[in-house]
């Protein structure tokens, strides 16, 4: 599974992308975030409060209840501020 991070989520985690192989009990985007939080302080700082974070699965906006699988590209980022 490919993960992408943007804006302050990227800064807190300290990288813009990585490939991970989460355990079988990670079924949703929310599960994935909760699993990543366990990986360290930067992840926890970025992803512990999901009210401040948005997720996209395969370049489409998604909810944290949406399922994620091995071939997916999952992106975490703050609410957008373009325009």
């Amino acid at each position: 599974m490919k993960l992408l991070y943007f804006a302050w989520v990227r800064q807190k985690i300290g990288r813009s992308e990585e490939v991970v192989d989460p355990p079988a009990n990670v079924r949703t985007a929310g599960d994935l975030a909760a699993w990543l939080v366990l990986r360290g302080e930067g992840y926890a700082d970025a992803l512990a409060d999901l009210k401040r974070v948005r997720v996209a699965i395969n370049q489409e906006h998604a909810s944290f209840a949406a399922p994620v699988g091995a071939g997916d590209e999952v992106a975490f980022f703050p609410p957008v501020t373009g325009g």
Binding site: L4, F6, A7, W8, A56, Q59, E60, H61, A75, F77, P78, P79, V80, T81, G82, G83
Partner: protein, 148 residues
């Protein structure tokens, strides 16, 4: 048509390209968003727009498609810049073409409201006091929600 680019755009050139040779267009509305320095005593030095290559273009295309479903538009152009910008620089251009003005006006407002809450761009400001990420505004969500 949508474009995501680092370089500046010229509004007159873009409108000319959209309307050249057409005799069916009765209304052209364009909106240009610019970098604004509105802080008193903490001047904005520059702003950097980060984006999500691929998804940003797809979201802008979806927003354009949605506008074309809702209004009888003859053409649509969205140009959005990324990278480092200075106060006064242009950020975004939305242009709508229609037979009658109300469709072009409404669609342009809709496009801006929607892209501000959907297109993956993030603004980082460099001010005299330091750097900070711009926070999303609840008023932008409300502006987008009125179109539902």
């Amino acid at each position: 048509m949508i474009r995501v680019q680092r370089q500046d755009f010229d509004v007159g050139t873009e409108i000319e390209a959209l309307t050249r040779g057409r005799t069916d267009v009765g209304a052209v509305v364009s909106f240009t968003g610019q970098v604004r320095d509105d802080a008193e005593g903490d001047r904005l030095k520059s702003m950097t727009l980060e984006h999500f290559p691929g998804m940003t273009e797809r979201e802008l295309m979806r927003v354009e498609e949605e506008a074309r479903v809702r209004w009888p538009l003859l053409d649509v152009l969205i140009v959005h810049r990324h990278g480092e910008l200075l106060p006064g620089d242009r950020i975004v251009l939305v242009a709508t073409l229609s037979h009658h003005r109300s469709d072009a006006f409404e669609a342009a407002l809709f496009l801006m409201d929607y892209l501000k809450t959907r297109a993956p761009f993030w603004k980082r400001e460099l001010r005299e006091s330091g750097e900070r990420w711009v926070e999303a505004r609840g008023s932008d969500d409300e502006a987008a929600a009125r179109w539902r």
